[in-house]
Symmetry: C2
Subunit: 328 residues, 2 copies
């Protein structure tokens, strides 16, 4: 690993964490990875997951390090380790208590989605039939996240909720892992309307390498993905673009069932268990991350733009976003 | 308030917190107060109490400030505010999870008793008929508290647990609020054996002004209290002595019932509700704290020793104790 290369940052992963995965991060020279700490569940189980991560950070301290601030990111990079940034894909860990936003910030959480797929106390997920937008509590939570330096993540939110949250937030928000809906039509990807509003607010888009978000699923080529990136950069600007791969490496299919159904519904016993699709051949693990550069260059991005998309942009956004409001 | 006076620090209070109490702290010129965040209950209700304190710190930021580090104590003193130091009188907030020690440290907890009055998962309280000493989990928790910089507080522990914890801890421990048992014979006060072991380990004793711990209850004179302080200083050294007043100002008697019975037992409905005894006339609120100096001087303490007992000693102990092991 060459500590002198430009930063490499992935804006979302949920691997089946192991020393082997951390060794791949290290071998790839990853500067930072935003990891999902919780998909479902409330405060108490989320604390258990944070404790799991605190033990991992101690037990693999030769490979990974905390990633809670600009200083943490710089320290991890200087020591050749991967900074781990904590995030939540669901806001129930704050339950109905505004004060828990600050508690979770202190415990290291730096990204929180206003919604996962369904209705939350804060807004609507993309799978709900009716999106009623950001709730009253949601508006207060966005203000508190802004104050503390916890990034509002709208990847899984419905269009109305996403647009209202962009407007409500005093600080730039992110769609940490999604693609352009014009390339792959799914409500999980983002319309040009959303992408324009995101760009106008100084927000940030992480492009996803998860098969369901790709135009041709697992068969999608790197060329097609990077051409989408180039068209998307025309809307959001290359400097507001990064990768949020949504890599779910080494997860059993049972985890996919849990991601989708959580405990909020109970699939019929006879229903087939959904299966993870294979990753495209050009993105199967962190080892493939540096190789995205060639595809971006071939799609017309300059060397500087490519370096920004692979890490420099996320580093700038994270460093500015993780500090308390008014401190920078 | 004269910001130039020597520091004034109370090593334990559990008042019915209000702006009026904080104004008295400010008027008295208190540098820091260790406040009890939890007596009974597990992790989840303790987090609610921490959230209550985070709101208080924001809403009364003109009077009080966080007290989590030497830097915090210095900053509060420089701005003429009282640093609030968080502590737990019961270790159940970590439940049976070693990782929750680190979680609570990150949420600001800097003191934790190994036991309140009864058996805990870590050791024995002074009210138990049999004290079996520090448990296996207790030894691991002491190591973790040492590593992080959370002070082991043995005020309510039984004699065997207290002696074993002093021996097990790699860093100095405290009895934050108790008196010499030779002055007021109660198992809640500390024997000379404990006081000697505490002193030999570099530990710290905070003297209590709570009527039940005083030789003559509410009628105890300042002279008698300070004479006890002088005799105790001969054992522990004046530099290892401070005040841990155990002030419970403005609390209703129902709180005393709850302190004693928690939810672990259920007093008979016909049983009389215990009542707080009146405070001695020389210590009814923070406003009386500076006046302790005259009593200590009259008991033979030098001006420097008196300043140490009223705050300088606690400040030195807290500043050294709150930093992670090996960082100072």
């Amino acid at each position: 690993m060459n500590a002198k290369h430009p930063p490499l940052i992935d804006g979302l992963q949920f691997c089946n964490w192991s020393r082997a995965v951390f060794e791949q991060m290290h071998a790839a020279g990853m500067t930072a990875v935003h990891v999902t700490v919780a998909y479902h569940g409330g405060f108490r189980p989320t604390v258990d997951r944070i404790v799991d991560w605190q033990w991992r950070l101690r037990e693999h301290a030769d490979l990974i390090a905390p990633g809670e601030s600009a200083a943490d990111l710089a320290a991890a990079e200087a020591s050749g380790r991967t900074a781990i940034v904590f995030g939540l894909q669901n806001p129930l860990p704050i339950e109905d208590d505004l004060g828990l936003v600050g508690v979770l910030y202190r415990l290291g959480i730096r990204f929180m989605q206003l919604t996962y797929n369904m209705q939350s106390l804060l807004g609507c997920g993309w799978m709900e039939p009716v999106d009623s937008g950001v709730t009253a509590m949601g508006r207060g939570v966005i203000r508190e996240m802004n104050r503390l330096g916890m990034v509002v993540d709208l990847s899984h939110s419905g269009e109305r909720t996403t647009l209202e949250a962009i407007a409500a937030s005093r600080r730039p928000v992110t769609v940490s892992h999604a693609n352009a809906a014009t390339w792959k039509a799914t409500l999980r990807n983002k319309s040009d309307t959303v992408l324009r509003a995101l760009a106008e607010s100084g927000g940030f888009l992480g492009l996803s390498c998860y098969p369901v978000h790709l135009a041709d699923g697992p068969a999608t080529t790197l060329e097609s993905f990077c051409a989408m990136a180039a068209r998307t950069a025309e809307i959001v600007g290359a400097a507001n673009l990064g990768i949020g791969s949504d890599l779910c490496q080494d997860q059993p299919d049972s985890v996919l069932q849990w991601m989708r159904a959580g405990r909020w519904t109970r699939p019929a016993p006879a229903a087939p268990v959904p299966a993870f699709q294979p990753q495209p051949v050009w993105f199967r693990s962190n080892l493939d991350f540096p190789g995205l550069a060639a595809g971006l260059r071939a799609a017309g991005f300059s060397e500087a733009e490519t370096a920004g998309i692979l890490g420099g942009n996320w580093r700038r956004f994270m460093a500015a976003s993780f500090a308390p409001e008014g401190s920078a």
